[in-house]
């Protein structure tokens, strides 16, 4: 064992949350160390999460968009033996470039990186073991746990990563299956379900809740569900799988709680993720996960143990890269006494087809405020750009206070994740909806939805939401 190294901040995990925590510390002139078990920084986000899934989705969305825009003039035929690999041909390059970018960024910011597995031996000390078994010790006054999450390992679903897959192994499929059952109705489940449906796979979502993506605006989700079903998908809401088995031949057989049976070539188990804390030695410092299996933190991301912080997926939902990065940055600032501006309004992006985005208050939350709220709607199919692009689904809901102050936006449709940033800036800037009417946006663009939604609010009547109506 080599002697202890002293840093101001040690971060365990080099995913989006860990990177930002370390870089923030380094930018403030402190010595930052990241301990990462894989060879390349990036975490699940780069290896089998955000980056690979969005690369596959990009191909699927381009295909769907082209077919829609061509209005039937062009037809697209899939090659007979269509491999996932051929659809993500750029994936290796994208992942490698992203890893290089992150490594360069860490190097430029003088963040030290050790490859190894970390284990707490004291509140301020970690034992780090390399792949060759060599051990060294890292010490710091503050430690940030950013180890992410992994798919839940269900006792009743036989995940074999060949026929029954989870969200970490779904992209290791070599061939595009003819059919896929997706267990779960959360972000990961719906993103993969709509991507595979757009690629011509017969997809069935099975989820115990009344509707998928329950944390999002119901009207927005309804638009998504309609588009998913138009692409050939099926949603079995309010149903749970009672038994899943690979029949040993050609199909995964799923029996639901209503007695019905589904047969599919593959099954994706996407019912929850759990914190990756195995081997961290949390008990050595008196730390434990909460009842839901995640590390519990306060608003500064401090755990129950002074000097130990936790950020990103390891603390549970929303489990989005955007949120994780901001959590990492804020934890580092708090740990090192770096002044920080008040928290901004972080958007949520769900990369389904069509995509969904949200920022600020939702309709129900806004309506519960004293004085209630106003809601303006713009349907993409009624915008010039929407008609040009053959958009059938697409809705913007702009939420404002009674005096017109922008409070939030919920969007479903093409470019939703980009469009939402305009509302985010309006919220941060304390703007009123009039600004979207008085300052025109390019015509024809989907950005015009802001003007239409703002006019809907200003025109009043049908957008009004009584506080007790929520």
């Amino acid at each position: 064992m080599t002697g202890p190294a002293r840093h101001d901040l040690v971060v365990i995990g080099a995913g989006p949350a860990g990177q930002k925590a370390a870089i923030q510390a380094s930018k403030a002139g402190r010595r930052a160390l990241i301990v990462e078990q894989t060879a390349e920084p990036g975490g699940a986000c780069v290896s089998h999460g955000t980056i690979p899934s969005k690369t596959l989705r990009e191909t699927a969305a381009a295909l769907e968009g082209f077919q829609r825009r061509s209005g039937g003039v062009f037809t697209i035929e899939r090659r007979e033996a269509l491999t996932i690999e051929s659809l993500t041909r750029r994936l290796g390059q994208v992942v490698t470039e992203h890893e290089t970018l992150i490594a360069d960024q860490l190097r430029r910011n003088r963040v030290e990186v050790w490859q190894g597995r970390a284990r707490f031996v004291a509140r301020d000390a970690l034992e780090v073991r390399g792949v060759d078994g060599a051990v060294r010790v890292a010490r710091a006054s503050a430690v940030v746990i950013a180890t992410g999450s992994r798919p839940r390992d269900p006792s009743d679903v036989p995940v074999d990563h060949e026929h029954v897959l989870d969200s970490d192994s779904i992209l290791s499929l070599r061939y595009l299956p003819a059919s896929l059952v997706v267990l779960g109705g959360g972000v990961i489940a719906c993103e993969y379900a709509s991507t595979f449906a757009a690629l011509g796979v017969k997809v069935t979502i099975v989820d115990g809740a009344d509707r998928p993506l329950g944390f999002l605006d119901a009207e927005v989700v309804e638009q998504f569900t309609r588009a998913f079903e138009r692409a050939g998908g099926t949603v079995r809401a309010g149903r749970r799988a009672r038994q899943v088995r690979w029949n040993g031949r050609d199909a995964v057989e799923t029996r639901l709680d209503d007695g019905s049976e589904l047969s599919s070539e593959k099954l994706l188990f996407a019912l929850g993720r759990v914190a990756s804390v195995a081997g961290l030695g949390l008990d050595a410092v008196g730390l434990a996960t909460g009842p839901r299996g995640f590390i519990e933190v306060d608003r500064h991301f401090c755990t129950a143990v002074a000097g130990i912080y936790a950020v990103g997926d390891v603390i549970g939902p929303p489990s989005l890269a955007t949120t994780a990065m901001e959590q990492g940055r804020r934890a580092a600032c708090h740990a090192l006494g770096i002044p920080l501006l008040a928290s901004g309004s972080a958007p949520i992006g769900v990369y389904t087809i069509p995509e969904i985005a949200s920022v600020g208050l939702g309709e129900a939350e806004a309506a519960a405020r004293p004085g209630g709220a106003l809601v303006g709607r713009a349907r993409f199919a009624e915008l010039a750009r929407g008609r040009i692009a053959g958009v059938e689904d697409g809705l913007m809901k702009l939420i404002a206070a009674r005096d017109g102050l922008v409070l939030g936006a919920q969007i479903v449709g093409e470019s939703a994740a980009d469009l939402v940033h305009v509302a985010q800036m309006a919220i941060i800037g304390g703007l009123h909806v009039d600004v979207f009417v008085d300052h025109p946006m390019n015509f024809p663009t989907l950005g015009e939805a802001y003007r239409v939604a703002a006019l809907d609010i200003l025109n009043g009547a049908r957008a009004a939401v009584a506080p007790d109506a929520a």
Binding site: Q37, Q93, S172
Partner: protein, 275 residues
């Protein structure tokens, strides 16, 4: 197989084999027609088990092999499978592709007259490597079928080069050293011509590259590790043997290796049943 640099005075043999590969002068073994047709048919979007069953029925050797594989523990048949139809159903599309590749590699690797013992040893090693590659892929969420094929086919170039070297007058150890040097390139040349072989050709070509870069780097490291594991006797301590670069690239720590190594009897049984 581990590559050793040939002695300087034996470079002429290595150069000659290298020249033959570059000139495309190798006699590349095509997979047997029936196996190739099964691989292609099982890879189609609209693959039909009935049609594949018909293809298999036309080739008695392939049918016999599929029956044997369908009865192996790999496919965990609850009762002995005696009919071809049962075998096809039991194997499923993924299993049929795997089985057809096993048949194809066997026919490609065991074809050189006079070298049967050496080639049988290489073939057994390839089956073991396929088993380990599959285990490693499962552990690291990499494509299981692709890993299996990489392991199975990584040394196919050796068989081709033993054939190509038949007319060279040189001691066996000199030829063997030259084959060590060039087998990866020769294997890639073979696979580039096989159905569904293109995907693994690049990995096979670079499977002795100690520091691979680019997209297939993880699969190359995986294959290097599988290649090593396949050479370790079951009662041996594996830790000192393993390439650290591959362990680091795949984030495999001593406890992960211990867990993998605990599966050695199952992997050997799997290879034995396939062989």
């Amino acid at each position: 197989m581990i590559v050793a640099d040939p002695p300087a005075d034996d470079l002429a043999v290595a150069d000659e084999l290298g020249r033959r590969i570059a000139a495309g002068a190798l006699d590349l073994p095509a997979p047997p027609d029936a196996a190739a047709r099964v691989i292609a048919a099982a890879s189609r979007d609209d693959a039909d088990l009935g049609r594949i069953s018909e293809l298999v029925r036309r080739d008695p050797a392939l049918a016999a092999q599929l029956l044997r594989i369908a009865n192996s523990s790999l496919f965990a048949a609850p009762a002995p499978i005696v009919s071809l139809q049962q075998a096809v159903l039991r194997l499923g599309l993924d299993g049929l592709r795997k089985a057809a590749h096993v048949v194809a590699s066997r026919s490609a690797m065991l074809r050189v007259v006079g070298r049967e013992a050496e080639l049988r040893r290489i073939y057994r090693h390839s089956l073991l490597a396929a088993g380990w590659a599959q285990e490693l892929a499962r552990a690291r969420r990499l494509p299981v079928e692709e890993a299996f094929l990489c392991g199975l086919l990584h040394d196919v170039g050796r068989a081709v080069l033993w054939q190509a070297a038949a007319d060279l007058v040189a001691p066996d150890d000199v030829v063997a050293a030259a084959i060590d040097r060039h087998h990866a390139a020769a294997g890639a040349a073979v696979l580039a011509t096989w159905p569904a072989g293109g995907a693994v050709a690049e990995v096979v070509r670079r499977h002795h590259d100690p520091a691979p870069e680019g997209a297939p780097a993880r699969m190359i490291h995986l294959l290097a590790l599988a290649d090593h594991l396949a050479q370790v006797a079951p009662d041996q301590d594996i830790a000192p043997e393993l390439p650290v670069a591959a362990l680091a690239a795949l984030a495999l720590y001593p406890e992960d290796i211990d867990l993998l190594w605990s599966r050695r009897d199952a992997v050997r049984a799997f290879a034995q049943e396939l062989g």
